[in-house]
Amino acid sequence: MKHLRSISELGADGLSRILKLTESMAEINTRAVPKVPALRGKTVVSLFFEDSTRTRLSFETAAKRLSAETMNFSVSTSSVNKGESLRDTIETITDMGVDAFVVRHKSVGVPWQISQWTNASIVNAGDGAHQHPTQALVDCFTVREALGRQDLSGLNLTIVGDIKHSRVARSNIQAFSLLGANITLVAPPTLLPLNIEHWPVKVSNDLDAVLASTDVLYMLRLQSERMAQGLVPSLHEYSTRYGLDEKRVVALQSSAVVMHPGPMNRGVEMLIDPSDIPNSLIHRQVTNGVSVRMAVLFDLLSAEELS
């Protein structure tokens, strides 16, 4: 596998392989010195056009634990010369000798575009509202770990929130359906994409109606800008109908788990403190982030033949 850009590109085999590798990486992370020399001599460059300290650090830690060299370019859009194309940026950096780029950009498709201009492996850390494959891998791993099983057939996953603008949702829908889960999307109609009859999901506008049958409740963040854009009449109406509060937590089965990709918008989609949610996997999602990213980097950079 040359790149990790989307779950659909990764496929079922790739998904299984990475999740299995993550187990090895998770074991390494329990050691007193969680470091192996596997990617010694390789260079991993973080190219974050969109700010995200948490994800970027997670990747950097992963690279360092595999003994790779890391370089970090935080390119905020205002500082990038308007005339400088993606190509210029990539070609400049590639000249320094890069084995993998970890890229986050607000524009969809950037990981595919830049593949034309470099031989390095590309890891998509989020491209617009399109894909965030490592988040989905983290989420799949976390669910299997929590439930103690690999086969997720028949598992009822409910994803709640701004599906329309969510790369986490798109990646998770692909990943969890490859693992056999039943997926329900819950959102107001304005936050659901159009033309999704071909998606392997059920759709509902009523959160309370699906809670009792939900095994995994996945809450998405709602950005406050959505109200300014007129997509929801008010944040209050949104939280009342789609927010996770104590009442809704109680309505869940006792075996159900709750997840959120972070960061949380308290008072909007989260109306209860996560530490007050029994069966919250939010903390495990964060912890597993490094192991998953180690697995991804190892898989990409160990599979290569020297050119």
């Binding site: 299995k20 090895s24 390494i28 050691r31 192996v36 596997a38 020297l306």
Partner: protein, 181 residues
């Protein structure tokens, strides 16, 4: 698989393998004057079943001590990552502290010695053993590093083009006809 004609020879039968494991088990006990401070670590993936078999055999020889058996994936320590596609095994599992213990690394085939070197480096991450010994079912020669086994099931000179298959059912060497070493 090469397209040249091949011949497969069974150099050890299933019973041969069982006897070899039994002998190695006795040698381990004898050499270490008992198994009080011994930990068996099978190398993934070929050595783990042998480590399990050795553990069982040893516990029938020394019923008072349950020898800990772990497994180690040396993939992360290999020196050829990036030179060729590398497939990782499962998560390593060392069930106890190995500092001060005698670790017996166990693998099915000893060849260039590079896997064992990687395993030695990996072991370091888990602690500082008092000593490390090496048990292999088959030594096929062609060492590239100064590694030598302490316990050997069978010495078997091979060509570099040969393939050696080891299982509880026996050991089969497949040669490519007309190849020279």
């Amino acid at each position: 698989m090469s397209s040249a004609p091949q011949s497969a020879v069974a150099v050890m039968s299933g019973p041969d393998v069982t006897r070899a494991i039994s002998r190695i088990a006795h040698e381990i006990v004898e050499r270490n004057h008992g198994v009080e401070n011994v930990v068996l670590v099978g190398l993934q993936r070929g050595g783990t079943w042998i480590a399990d078999a050795l553990g069982e055999r040893i516990s029938s020889i020394e019923p008072n001590f349950a020898v800990p058996v772990g497994s180690l994936d040396p993939t992360m320590y290999r020196d050829d990552i990036g030179l060729r596609p590398v497939v990782a095994g499962s998560a390593s599992h060392i069930p106890c502290d190995i500092t001060g213990a005698t670790v017996v690394l166990i693998d099915d085939v000893l060849y260039t010695g590079r896997t064992v070197r990687a395993a030695l480096e990996g072991l370091n991450n888990f602690g500082r053993p008092r000593a490390v010994q090496l048990a292999v079912l088959v030594d096929r020669g062609h060492r590239e590093l100064p590694i030598r086994p302490d316990y050997v099931g069978k010495n078997m000179p091979t060509q570099t083009t040969d393939e050696v298959d080891v299982s509880a059912e026996g050991v089969v060497v497949t040669s490519v006809a007309g190849a020279s070493s």
